[in-house]
Protein backbone atom coordinates (compact mmCIF):
# COMPACT_ATOMS: atom_id res chain seq x y z
CA UNK A 1 0.00 0.00 0.00
CA UNK A 2 2.82 2.37 0.95
CA UNK A 3 4.67 1.44 -2.25
CA UNK A 4 1.56 2.06 -4.31
CA UNK A 5 1.26 5.50 -2.77
CA UNK A 6 4.88 6.32 -3.64
CA UNK A 7 4.28 5.14 -7.18
CA UNK A 8 1.26 7.38 -7.39
CA UNK A 9 3.22 10.36 -6.09
CA UNK A 10 6.00 9.76 -8.60
CA UNK A 11 3.44 9.42 -11.38
CA UNK A 12 1.85 12.72 -10.40
CA UNK A 13 5.20 14.49 -10.30
CA UNK A 14 6.05 13.06 -13.68
CA UNK A 15 2.80 14.29 -15.21
CA UNK A 16 3.48 17.73 -13.75
CA UNK A 17 6.93 17.70 -15.25
CA UNK A 18 5.37 17.03 -18.62
CA UNK A 19 3.64 20.37 -18.35
CA UNK A 20 6.59 22.20 -16.89
CA UNK A 21 9.36 20.59 -18.87
CA UNK A 22 11.96 22.70 -20.50
CA UNK A 23 13.08 21.77 -23.88
CA UNK A 24 16.37 20.38 -24.97
CA UNK A 25 15.43 21.20 -28.48
CA UNK A 26 17.10 24.21 -29.97
CA UNK A 27 15.90 22.99 -33.28
CA UNK A 28 13.50 20.41 -34.59
CA UNK A 29 14.85 16.87 -34.37
CA UNK A 30 13.44 13.44 -35.25
CA UNK A 31 10.91 12.16 -32.75
CA UNK A 32 11.82 8.46 -32.75
CA UNK A 33 15.48 8.97 -33.62
CA UNK A 34 17.89 11.70 -32.61
CA UNK A 35 19.65 14.56 -34.38
CA UNK A 36 22.92 16.46 -34.30
CA UNK A 37 21.80 19.52 -32.43
CA UNK A 38 23.14 20.55 -29.06
CA UNK A 39 22.00 23.05 -26.46
CA UNK A 40 23.69 26.41 -25.90
CA UNK A 41 26.60 26.97 -23.58
CA UNK A 42 25.78 27.09 -19.84
CA UNK A 43 22.27 25.90 -20.56
CA UNK A 44 20.47 23.47 -18.28
CA UNK A 45 17.41 21.98 -19.84
CA UNK A 46 14.79 19.45 -18.96
CA UNK A 47 12.65 17.44 -21.32
CA UNK A 48 9.78 15.11 -20.54
CA UNK A 49 8.16 12.83 -23.09
CA UNK A 50 5.12 10.60 -22.83
CA UNK A 51 5.26 7.62 -25.15
CA UNK A 52 3.71 4.27 -25.76
CA UNK A 53 6.50 1.93 -26.79
CA UNK A 54 6.72 -1.82 -27.03
CA UNK A 55 6.48 -2.14 -23.26
CA UNK A 56 3.47 0.09 -22.83
CA UNK A 57 3.17 3.68 -21.67
CA UNK A 58 6.28 5.32 -20.26
CA UNK A 59 7.66 8.72 -19.47
CA UNK A 60 11.25 9.69 -20.19
CA UNK A 61 12.75 12.51 -18.20
CA UNK A 62 15.91 14.06 -19.67
CA UNK A 63 18.28 16.43 -17.92
CA UNK A 64 20.69 18.13 -20.34
CA UNK A 65 23.65 20.42 -19.79
CA UNK A 66 25.56 22.32 -22.45
CA UNK A 67 29.28 22.21 -21.70
CA UNK A 68 29.89 24.26 -24.80
CA UNK A 69 27.86 25.20 -27.89
CA UNK A 70 28.99 21.88 -29.39
CA UNK A 71 28.97 19.49 -26.42
CA UNK A 72 25.90 18.36 -24.51
CA UNK A 73 25.59 15.85 -21.67
CA UNK A 74 22.28 14.10 -20.99
CA UNK A 75 20.89 11.99 -18.18
CA UNK A 76 17.72 10.04 -18.91
CA UNK A 77 15.36 8.65 -16.28
CA UNK A 78 12.61 6.43 -17.72
CA UNK A 79 9.46 5.67 -15.79
CA UNK A 80 7.30 2.78 -16.92
CA UNK A 81 3.63 3.02 -16.08
CA UNK A 82 1.81 -0.05 -14.88
CA UNK A 83 0.37 -2.44 -17.38
CA UNK A 84 -1.43 -5.78 -17.25
CA UNK A 85 -0.28 -7.53 -14.08
CA UNK A 86 2.87 -5.45 -13.76
CA UNK A 87 3.41 -2.50 -11.47
CA UNK A 88 4.91 0.81 -12.45
CA UNK A 89 8.47 1.78 -11.63
CA UNK A 90 11.63 3.57 -12.59
CA UNK A 91 13.73 2.04 -15.33
CA UNK A 92 17.47 2.03 -15.86
CA UNK A 93 19.33 5.33 -16.02
CA UNK A 94 21.07 6.34 -19.26
CA UNK A 95 24.04 8.71 -19.47
CA UNK A 96 25.10 10.08 -22.82
CA UNK A 97 27.20 12.75 -24.43
CA UNK A 98 26.91 14.38 -27.83
CA UNK A 99 29.69 16.18 -29.66
CA UNK A 100 28.82 18.24 -32.70
CA UNK A 101 32.11 18.11 -34.57
CA UNK A 102 31.00 19.90 -37.71
CA UNK A 103 28.66 22.81 -38.13
CA UNK A 104 28.15 25.06 -41.11
CA UNK A 105 25.79 27.94 -40.56
CA UNK A 106 24.43 29.84 -43.51
CA UNK A 107 21.67 32.36 -43.93
CA UNK A 108 18.44 30.83 -42.59
CA UNK A 109 19.91 27.39 -42.06
CA UNK A 110 22.68 25.07 -41.02
CA UNK A 111 24.33 21.70 -41.62
CA UNK A 112 25.68 19.66 -38.75
CA UNK A 113 27.34 16.36 -37.97
CA UNK A 114 27.52 14.95 -34.46
CA UNK A 115 28.86 11.92 -32.67
CA UNK A 116 26.91 10.47 -29.78
CA UNK A 117 27.83 7.86 -27.20
CA UNK A 118 26.11 6.63 -24.09
CA UNK A 119 25.69 3.96 -21.48
CA UNK A 120 22.56 2.42 -20.04
CA UNK A 121 23.22 1.41 -16.46
CA UNK A 122 21.81 -1.80 -15.00
CA UNK A 123 19.25 -1.78 -12.27
CA UNK A 124 16.52 0.69 -11.66
CA UNK A 125 13.52 -0.31 -9.63
CA UNK A 126 12.21 -2.28 -12.54
CA UNK A 127 14.27 -3.06 -15.61
CA UNK A 128 12.38 -2.89 -18.85
CA UNK A 129 11.79 -6.36 -20.21
CA UNK A 130 13.13 -5.21 -23.54
CA UNK A 131 16.53 -4.25 -22.12
CA UNK A 132 17.17 -6.63 -19.27
CA UNK A 133 19.24 -5.88 -16.22
CA UNK A 134 22.54 -5.32 -18.04
CA UNK A 135 24.92 -2.51 -18.91
CA UNK A 136 24.44 -1.47 -22.54
CA UNK A 137 26.43 0.96 -24.67
CA UNK A 138 25.49 2.83 -27.78
CA UNK A 139 27.25 4.85 -30.43
CA UNK A 140 25.71 7.01 -33.09
CA UNK A 141 26.57 9.32 -35.95
CA UNK A 142 24.11 11.99 -37.01
CA UNK A 143 23.66 14.40 -39.85
CA UNK A 144 21.12 17.21 -39.96
CA UNK A 145 20.24 20.01 -42.31
CA UNK A 146 17.66 22.62 -41.50
CA UNK A 147 16.43 25.66 -43.32
CA UNK A 148 13.40 27.92 -43.33
CA UNK A 149 11.36 25.49 -45.42
CA UNK A 150 12.96 22.03 -45.22
CA UNK A 151 14.53 19.59 -42.80
CA UNK A 152 16.63 16.51 -43.49
CA UNK A 153 18.13 14.08 -41.01
CA UNK A 154 20.05 10.83 -41.23
CA UNK A 155 21.69 8.71 -38.61
CA UNK A 156 23.25 5.34 -37.94
CA UNK A 157 23.18 3.91 -34.42
CA UNK A 158 24.70 0.84 -32.84
CA UNK A 159 23.56 -0.61 -29.54
CA UNK A 160 25.92 -3.00 -27.77
CA UNK A 161 23.95 -5.02 -25.28
CA UNK A 162 25.64 -6.36 -22.20
CA UNK A 163 25.13 -9.78 -20.72
CA UNK A 164 23.19 -10.86 -17.67
CA UNK A 165 24.28 -14.16 -16.18
CA UNK A 166 24.19 -16.56 -19.13
CA UNK A 167 21.99 -14.36 -21.32
CA UNK A 168 23.81 -12.32 -23.94
CA UNK A 169 21.36 -10.15 -25.85
CA UNK A 170 21.96 -9.42 -29.52
CA UNK A 171 23.34 -6.07 -30.60
CA UNK A 172 21.19 -3.76 -32.67
CA UNK A 173 21.83 -1.55 -35.68
CA UNK A 174 19.48 1.34 -36.48
CA UNK A 175 19.42 3.25 -39.75
CA UNK A 176 17.15 6.28 -39.85
CA UNK A 177 16.26 9.11 -42.18
CA UNK A 178 13.77 11.93 -41.90
CA UNK A 179 12.42 14.69 -44.09
CA UNK A 180 10.37 17.65 -42.97
CA UNK A 181 8.68 20.71 -44.34
CA UNK A 182 7.56 24.02 -42.92
CA UNK A 183 4.41 24.87 -44.88
CA UNK A 184 4.37 28.52 -43.74
CA UNK A 185 7.44 30.66 -43.06
CA UNK A 186 6.28 32.38 -39.90
CA UNK A 187 8.21 35.08 -38.13
CA UNK A 188 9.41 35.05 -34.55
CA UNK A 189 6.55 35.40 -32.03
CA UNK A 190 4.14 33.66 -34.39
CA UNK A 191 2.91 30.03 -34.28
CA UNK A 192 5.19 27.73 -36.27
CA UNK A 193 4.32 24.33 -37.72
CA UNK A 194 6.72 21.68 -39.06
CA UNK A 195 5.65 18.31 -40.46
CA UNK A 196 8.14 15.47 -40.44
CA UNK A 197 8.21 11.94 -41.85
CA UNK A 198 10.74 9.48 -40.45
CA UNK A 199 11.92 6.21 -41.95
CA UNK A 200 13.39 3.85 -39.36
CA UNK A 201 15.23 0.62 -40.03
CA UNK A 202 16.40 -1.87 -37.45
CA UNK A 203 18.52 -5.02 -37.59
CA UNK A 204 19.07 -6.97 -34.39
CA UNK A 205 21.24 -10.01 -33.81
CA UNK A 206 20.05 -13.11 -32.04
CA UNK A 207 20.39 -13.55 -28.32
CA UNK A 208 22.58 -16.28 -26.95
CA UNK A 209 21.90 -18.18 -23.78
CA UNK A 210 24.50 -20.42 -22.27
CA UNK A 211 26.53 -20.13 -25.47
CA UNK A 212 23.65 -21.23 -27.71
CA UNK A 213 21.69 -18.95 -30.02
CA UNK A 214 18.09 -18.31 -29.25
CA UNK A 215 16.10 -19.12 -32.39
CA UNK A 216 13.25 -16.88 -31.26
CA UNK A 217 15.20 -13.66 -31.16
CA UNK A 218 16.64 -11.10 -33.52
CA UNK A 219 15.40 -10.01 -36.89
CA UNK A 220 14.83 -6.86 -38.89
CA UNK A 221 12.13 -4.30 -39.40
CA UNK A 222 11.22 -1.06 -41.08
CA UNK A 223 8.86 1.64 -39.82
CA UNK A 224 7.43 4.93 -40.95
CA UNK A 225 6.63 7.67 -38.48
CA UNK A 226 4.80 10.86 -39.38
CA UNK A 227 5.03 13.62 -36.82
CA UNK A 228 4.43 17.27 -36.19
CA UNK A 229 6.00 20.17 -34.25
CA UNK A 230 3.86 23.12 -33.26
CA UNK A 231 5.70 25.87 -31.44
CA UNK A 232 5.18 29.40 -30.23
CA UNK A 233 8.20 31.31 -28.99
CA UNK A 234 9.59 28.96 -26.31
CA UNK A 235 6.78 26.38 -26.07
CA UNK A 236 6.55 23.38 -28.36
CA UNK A 237 4.00 20.62 -28.71
CA UNK A 238 5.26 17.65 -30.71
CA UNK A 239 3.87 14.25 -31.46
CA UNK A 240 4.17 11.28 -33.76
CA UNK A 241 3.05 7.79 -34.58
CA UNK A 242 5.42 4.96 -35.58
CA UNK A 243 3.95 2.26 -37.82
CA UNK A 244 5.71 -1.02 -38.42
CA UNK A 245 5.62 -1.38 -42.21
CA UNK A 246 7.82 -4.43 -42.58
CA UNK A 247 8.97 -6.96 -40.04
CA UNK A 248 11.03 -10.12 -40.35
CA UNK A 249 11.47 -11.63 -36.91
CA UNK A 250 13.27 -14.89 -36.33
CA UNK A 251 11.28 -17.82 -34.96
CA UNK A 252 8.24 -17.12 -32.88
CA UNK A 253 8.14 -13.60 -31.48
CA UNK A 254 5.50 -11.06 -30.60
CA UNK A 255 4.94 -8.60 -33.43
CA UNK A 256 5.95 -5.02 -32.75
CA UNK A 257 3.02 -2.72 -32.23
CA UNK A 258 2.36 0.86 -33.19
CA UNK A 259 4.11 3.41 -31.01
CA UNK A 260 2.89 6.84 -30.03
CA UNK A 261 4.72 9.85 -28.70
CA UNK A 262 3.51 13.19 -27.37
CA UNK A 263 5.59 15.85 -25.65
CA UNK A 264 5.29 19.41 -24.46
CA UNK A 265 8.59 21.27 -24.32
CA UNK A 266 9.18 24.61 -22.68
CA UNK A 267 12.48 26.22 -23.51
CA UNK A 268 13.92 27.85 -20.39
CA UNK A 269 16.28 30.87 -20.42
CA UNK A 270 19.99 30.14 -19.91
CA UNK A 271 21.66 30.77 -16.58
CA UNK A 272 24.01 33.34 -18.10
Amino acid sequence: MKQARWNSIIANITFSLILLAASAVFAHEPLFGLGPHTVGQYVWEVESTMERGQEGWANEFDLIYGLSPNIALTTTLPYQFSRENESAGLGAVTLRGKYRFYRRDFRNGSDAFAFHAGIKLPGGKRAFANYGNSTDYFFALYFGRESRTRYAFADVRYLVRGSTRDLNRGNVWNFDAAYGIRPWRMEYLQPDLVLLLEALGEVSNRNTFGGRQDANSGGSGFSLAPGFFLSYRNVMLKGGVKFRVFQNLNGSQKKDRTEFLLAVDIHMPPFK
Partner: protein
Protein backbone atom coordinates in the same frame (compact mmCIF):
# COMPACT_ATOMS: atom_id res chain seq x y z
CA UNK B 1 -1.49 66.05 12.17
CA UNK B 2 -1.57 68.71 9.50
CA UNK B 3 2.22 68.36 9.13
CA UNK B 4 1.97 64.61 8.77
CA UNK B 5 -0.70 65.01 6.16
CA UNK B 6 1.45 67.44 4.19
CA UNK B 7 4.41 65.11 4.32
CA UNK B 8 2.26 62.22 3.14
CA UNK B 9 0.80 64.21 0.25
CA UNK B 10 4.26 65.42 -0.70
CA UNK B 11 5.66 61.89 -0.73
CA UNK B 12 2.75 60.61 -2.81
CA UNK B 13 3.19 63.44 -5.29
CA UNK B 14 6.88 62.66 -5.56
CA UNK B 15 6.20 58.97 -6.11
CA UNK B 16 3.63 59.73 -8.79
CA UNK B 17 6.07 62.07 -10.50
CA UNK B 18 8.77 59.40 -10.46
CA UNK B 19 6.34 56.90 -11.94
CA UNK B 20 5.85 59.04 -14.99
CA UNK B 21 9.52 59.57 -15.67
CA UNK B 22 10.18 57.36 -18.68
CA UNK B 23 12.79 54.64 -18.15
CA UNK B 24 13.38 54.48 -21.84
CA UNK B 25 14.48 57.16 -24.25
CA UNK B 26 12.30 60.20 -24.20
CA UNK B 27 10.19 61.10 -27.18
CA UNK B 28 12.35 62.73 -29.75
CA UNK B 29 15.46 60.73 -28.83
CA UNK B 30 16.40 58.06 -31.34
CA UNK B 31 17.73 54.70 -30.29
CA UNK B 32 20.96 53.52 -31.83
CA UNK B 33 20.13 50.75 -34.24
CA UNK B 34 22.40 47.80 -34.93
CA UNK B 35 21.59 45.33 -37.68
CA UNK B 36 23.23 42.01 -36.97
CA UNK B 37 23.24 39.19 -39.45
CA UNK B 38 22.85 35.78 -37.75
CA UNK B 39 23.63 32.64 -39.68
CA UNK B 40 22.07 29.31 -38.70
CA UNK B 41 18.79 30.87 -37.62
CA UNK B 42 16.15 28.64 -39.18
CA UNK B 43 13.19 28.46 -36.85
CA UNK B 44 11.26 30.60 -34.36
CA UNK B 45 11.81 28.06 -31.58
CA UNK B 46 15.56 28.39 -32.07
CA UNK B 47 15.31 32.16 -31.92
CA UNK B 48 14.26 32.11 -28.27
CA UNK B 49 17.76 31.15 -27.15
CA UNK B 50 19.20 33.96 -29.24
CA UNK B 51 16.70 36.42 -27.78
CA UNK B 52 17.64 35.49 -24.21
CA UNK B 53 21.37 35.80 -24.85
CA UNK B 54 21.17 39.13 -26.68
CA UNK B 55 18.82 40.68 -24.15
CA UNK B 56 21.55 40.35 -21.54
CA UNK B 57 23.70 42.90 -23.36
CA UNK B 58 24.18 46.03 -21.33
CA UNK B 59 22.56 49.11 -22.80
CA UNK B 60 20.19 47.20 -25.05
CA UNK B 61 16.77 48.82 -25.07
CA UNK B 62 14.87 46.73 -27.59
CA UNK B 63 15.41 43.63 -29.73
CA UNK B 64 13.65 42.53 -32.89
CA UNK B 65 14.50 39.20 -34.53
CA UNK B 66 13.66 38.89 -38.21
CA UNK B 67 13.99 35.21 -38.98
CA UNK B 68 13.02 35.37 -42.64
CA UNK B 69 15.71 38.01 -43.24
CA UNK B 70 18.23 36.22 -41.04
CA UNK B 71 18.95 39.32 -38.95
CA UNK B 72 18.52 40.62 -35.44
CA UNK B 73 17.83 44.32 -34.91
CA UNK B 74 19.32 45.65 -31.70
CA UNK B 75 18.29 49.04 -30.37
CA UNK B 76 20.59 50.67 -27.85
CA UNK B 77 19.89 53.62 -25.59
CA UNK B 78 21.37 56.90 -26.88
CA UNK B 79 25.00 57.12 -25.81
CA UNK B 80 25.24 53.47 -24.81
CA UNK B 81 28.44 51.68 -25.74
CA UNK B 82 28.08 49.20 -28.58
CA UNK B 83 30.64 46.45 -28.19
CA UNK B 84 30.80 44.22 -31.25
CA UNK B 85 32.85 41.60 -29.42
CA UNK B 86 30.13 41.21 -26.82
CA UNK B 87 27.50 40.84 -29.54
CA UNK B 88 29.61 38.22 -31.31
CA UNK B 89 30.14 36.32 -28.08
CA UNK B 90 26.46 36.22 -27.21
CA UNK B 91 25.50 34.96 -30.66
CA UNK B 92 28.11 32.20 -30.49
CA UNK B 93 27.02 31.16 -27.01
CA UNK B 94 23.49 30.84 -28.34
CA UNK B 95 24.82 28.37 -30.92
CA UNK B 96 24.74 30.56 -34.05
CA UNK B 97 27.31 32.29 -36.23
CA UNK B 98 27.47 36.09 -36.13
CA UNK B 99 27.80 37.85 -39.46
CA UNK B 100 28.03 41.43 -40.61
CA UNK B 101 27.18 44.19 -38.16
CA UNK B 102 25.82 47.54 -39.31
CA UNK B 103 25.60 50.36 -36.81
CA UNK B 104 23.30 53.29 -37.48
CA UNK B 105 24.35 56.43 -35.64
CA UNK B 106 21.41 58.71 -35.01
CA UNK B 107 23.70 61.65 -34.22
CA UNK B 108 24.67 61.87 -37.87
CA UNK B 109 22.83 60.81 -40.97
CA UNK B 110 25.69 58.64 -42.16
CA UNK B 111 25.83 54.91 -41.58
CA UNK B 112 28.86 53.14 -40.25
CA UNK B 113 29.46 49.61 -41.36
CA UNK B 114 31.61 47.28 -39.28
CA UNK B 115 32.53 43.76 -40.22
CA UNK B 116 32.50 41.07 -37.60
CA UNK B 117 35.55 38.96 -36.89
CA UNK B 118 33.87 35.91 -38.52
CA UNK B 119 34.07 35.19 -42.23
CA UNK B 120 30.68 35.34 -43.84
CA UNK B 121 29.30 31.93 -44.66
CA UNK B 122 28.36 31.01 -48.18
CA UNK B 123 24.62 31.21 -48.77
CA UNK B 124 23.07 27.90 -49.57
CA UNK B 125 19.87 27.18 -51.38
CA UNK B 126 16.79 26.85 -49.28
Amino acid sequence: MATTRKIFIGLMTLLLALAFIPTHARAGEQLQKVTLRVDGLACPFCAYGLEKKLKRIKGLEKLDIKINDGVALLYYKPGAEIDEKVIDKKVKEAGFTPGKIEIENPASSSEKTASSSETDQKEAGK
